[in-house]
């Protein structure tokens, strides 16, 4: 085989680069985002519950919000009926941020940790009292 040394060195460099994130991050612990549910609006609630159970919201809030978008803009439905039959106005800035008025410590905390950049707020307005 020709150029054995060069090939082996190349493979080594390649492996080093590919595995870089693993050995670079070894021993380090990333601090998970701390999500704050402590807002005046949530404190006022008798039952501290989101419109759907927390595990569902955690996993599916993006799908839910997307389906709200289609329902409101394209199908003229404005009211969401949850599993218990409770009704909510489908509004990101009023219903969601109505309770979660601390966007920075709720939405942004997790989104920046996971490197997700939703473009909701390019157009939708963060209500005052939150942050703008």
């Amino acid at each position: 085989m020709y150029d054995k040394g060069k090939i082996a060195a190349g493979i080594l460099i390649f492996l080093a680069l590919v595995t870089f994130p693993f050995w670079y991050g070894k021993g380090r612990t990333a601090t998970p985002p701390s999500i704050s549910l402590d807002t005046p609006e949530i404190r006022k609630l008798a039952v501290k519950e989101c419109i759907e159970p927390t595990p569902y919201m955690r996993a599916n809030h993006m799908e839910l919000v997307k389906s709200w978008r289609e329902a409101v803009v394209r199908e003229e439905n404005r009211v969401y009926v949850n599993r218990e039959g409770k009704k909510y106005s489908m509004s990101l800035s009023q219903t969601c941020l109505g309770c979660h008025s601390n966007k920075e410590r709720f939405c942004d905390a997790c989104h920046s940790y996971s490197g997700v950049k939703p473009n909701c707020w390019d157009c939708h307005v963060v209500p005052k009292g939150g942050s703008l």
């Binding site: 389906s67 978008r69 329902a71 803009v73 394209r74 199908e75 003229e76 439905n77 404005r78 009211v79 969401y80 009926v81 949850n82 009704k87 106005s89 489908m90 800035s93 009023q94 473009n119 390019d122 157009c123 939708h124 307005v125 209500p127 005052k128």
Partner: protein, 253 residues
């Protein structure tokens, strides 16, 4: 496995039917959305503008609309965004002007806005269906989420009712109304007949703002509606009806 061609096709057909039936049975998602109880509903929303009553030069309706909908003011006519605006009579109704037209019309501009056409060319040219005509009430609305800024609709609309955001509009809005979104750079916008206000049981902002009550909004399909009564009582014209767009804003001149 021993399977004749005949039975294979039979099972394949059956499973295809099964695949078609499943989504129909599982379709309980849609029932989770309902309409707002306070919504104003109509079979066909339309507007009658009494330009005789309109004092001309008044900008109450324009200001109200642009304030409610976060319409930016870039300060130059090249980038101008407009939902409702003043147009000279000869431009609003080309072909209707002649040398001996009443002086009043020569001077006085006409209030114009999106005509919410029954046959809207902007909808036909939109490649992403961002602009569509609502089946229920005929309003031509935009889904800003889907607009890719191709501006086919700007070219397609014969009334100039569509404006493109060539720059980021946020910083050009004097006071942001938190109840309505702004737009971003690269998105087209236009009058939406205040569909967001209708859903809350409110009449369009321009109609409410007009001190002279020169703008009337109502259901064209209901014979008792105020718009129908006005159309019965007065001769009305529409903007460029010869183009076949069937505009739904009527003018008493």
């Amino acid at each position: 496995m021993n399977c004749s061609r005949r039975s294979f096709l039979k099972y394949a057909g059956l499973s295809l039917i099964g695949m078609g039936v499943k989504p129909a049975l599982a379709g309980d998602e849609a029932s989770r959305f309902t309409r707002s109880p306070e919504e104003l509903m109509a079979k066909r929303w339309a507007m009658v503008i009494n330009s005789r009553k309109c004092p001309g030069g008044c900008k109450e309706c324009i200001d109200a609309c642009h304030r409610v909908h976060n319409v930016p003011n870039f300060g130059n006519s090249k980038d101008e965004i407009k939902w409702i605006w003043n147009e000279p009579f000869r431009d609003a109704f080309p072909g209707q002007e002649h040398a001996y037209l009443q002086e009043d019309f020569k001077k006085k501009p006409v209030i114009v806005l999106c005509n919410h056409c029954d046959n809207p060319p902007c909808v036909r040219v939109c490649p992403t269906k961002a602009t569509f005509k609502r089946k229920e009430d005929g309003i031509v609305v935009m889904d800003y989420h889907r607009c890719i800024g191709c501006r086919f609709c700007v070219a397609g609309c014969p009334y100039g009712a569509r404006s493109m955001n060539f720059r980021d509009p946020r910083s050009f809005i004097k006071e942001i109304n938190p109840d309505f979104p702004t737009r971003t750079k690269g998105v087209v916008e236009k009058c939406n007949f205040c569909e967001e206000r209708l859903s809350r049981g409110l009449l369009p902002a321009c109609v409410v703002a007009c001190r002279e009550k020169a703008m009337v909004f109502g259901d064209l399909e209901s014979p008792q509606s105020e718009v129908r009564k006005l159309l019965q009582a007065h001769f009305t014209i529409r903007r460029k009806p010869e183009l076949g767009t069937n505009p739904q804003v009527y003018y008493i001149v």
